[in-house]
Amino acid sequence: MEESKHYSDQELLELLKSGGGIDVAVRYLYRSHFDFLGIYVQQHSGSVQDAEDVFQEVVVAFIDLVQHNKFRGESTIKTFLFALNRNIWLNELKKRQRSAIREMKFENAKPMEDQAISEYIAAREGRQQVMDLVSKLGTTCQQILVAFYYQNLSMNEILSQLNYENEQVVRNKKYKCMKKLEELIAADPNLAKNLKTALQYE
């Protein structure tokens, strides 16, 4: 049973690298680490909602790093996730300029365990801009682009999900959506610079 199965770090990394295993891997991450990492946030001035939001960001960041071979496996996944969780939460607190940060100066003094985490934190704001950018597109554009570039569906599969006449119409729509996104990036030179830092593309 998937629900009770234990995955070794190596098995988990393989699942995350294979597109099809992400659902299973993410569920496993939730079952194994959500409780532990959530408690840390709550014990350091965070709410339950904060704990959930930070955990989602941790999972997204971890998968992204694994898929870009930035997770070098120098520590266990559990240790890495804990460090990522702590650094994201401290960065978030700093961003909010809450007084709680003063209580945790000792935490700030700790060096980042991993270069990947350090790079991630530096690019965190840019990543938020990435999320906002795609959300500016219409729902159909988001559906087509995510289906094609993230879910790796074929034009025929996308056609079966959306109400279009034929594949060519979907293809043209996809070009227009990409052009729109590219124009949004072109309109703000600083945004392009931030995105470059934030996205570890090839």
Partner: protein, 201 residues
């Protein structure tokens, strides 16, 4: 189809690896020569990565919602309850401490000589002396608890024993004449023959 859109389509097909070998070579030659085209390709790469990241976030969010929905007894919320119980325990403890402090402060604030006297004073009871040959009229009156009588008898006699001073002092106390009570008790205390007798009383 205008030239700009043609270029964008060409670049997207290049990113999607849909160009033929000839088309790819031709485009790469153009990319080497045209900075504007190179910049557009960079932005399209960024756009593609942005979509990929957006998709990943959506997928994780969907699973998160699903997991939160099925996990009715969420561990984090469970621990929150534990923390809430801890908070309530601390609140109750604080209330108990405040009540105890309040009672202490009230008792201190309401403490007075009169109150202390009323609570602690016990009238002196004369003990029966085995083999006592005689007793003075003052003693006789005190035994009967005739306190005005004690004072009257005492005042009618010119010479007094230590016991008389002590007993009349007690009688004045019973009559709430504290000034006379103190004066006579001090005389009893100072009397040369009292030694230890009555001092404790």
């Amino acid at each position: 189809m205008n030239n700009e859109f043609y270029n964008t389509e060409l670049l997207i097909r290049y990113l999607d690896k849909e160009l033929s070998a000839e088309e790819m070579i031709a485009l790469e030659q153009r990319l080497a020569a045209e900075q504007g085209l190179r910049e557009e390709l960079e932005r399209l790469k960024l756009a593609r990565e942005a979509v990929r990241l957006h998709g990943l976030k959506q997928q994780v969010k969907k699973i998160h919602t699903e997991m939160r929905g099925t996990a009715s007894a969420n561990p984090i919320i469970g621990r929150n309850n534990i923390r809430a119980i801890g908070k309530w325990t601390m609140r109750i403890a604080a209330v108990v401490v405040l009540v105890v402090l309040g009672v202490g402060v009230y008792q201190y604030a309401t403490l007075s000589n009169e109150k202390l006297f009323a609570e602690q004073y016990q009238p002196y009871e004369m003990r029966a002396s085995r083999g006592a040959e005689t007793e003075s009229p003052v003693e006789a009156a005190y035994k009967k608890k005739d306190f005005p009588g004690v004072i009257a008898v005492f005042n009618n006699v010119s010479t007094h024993a230590t016991a008389d001073y002590f007993l009349v002092g007690q009688a004045y106390l019973q009559q709430n004449n504290n000034k006379e009570a103190i004066r006579n008790l001090e005389l009893a205390n100072a009397s040369a023959d009292t030694s230890h007798l009555y001092k404790d009383e």
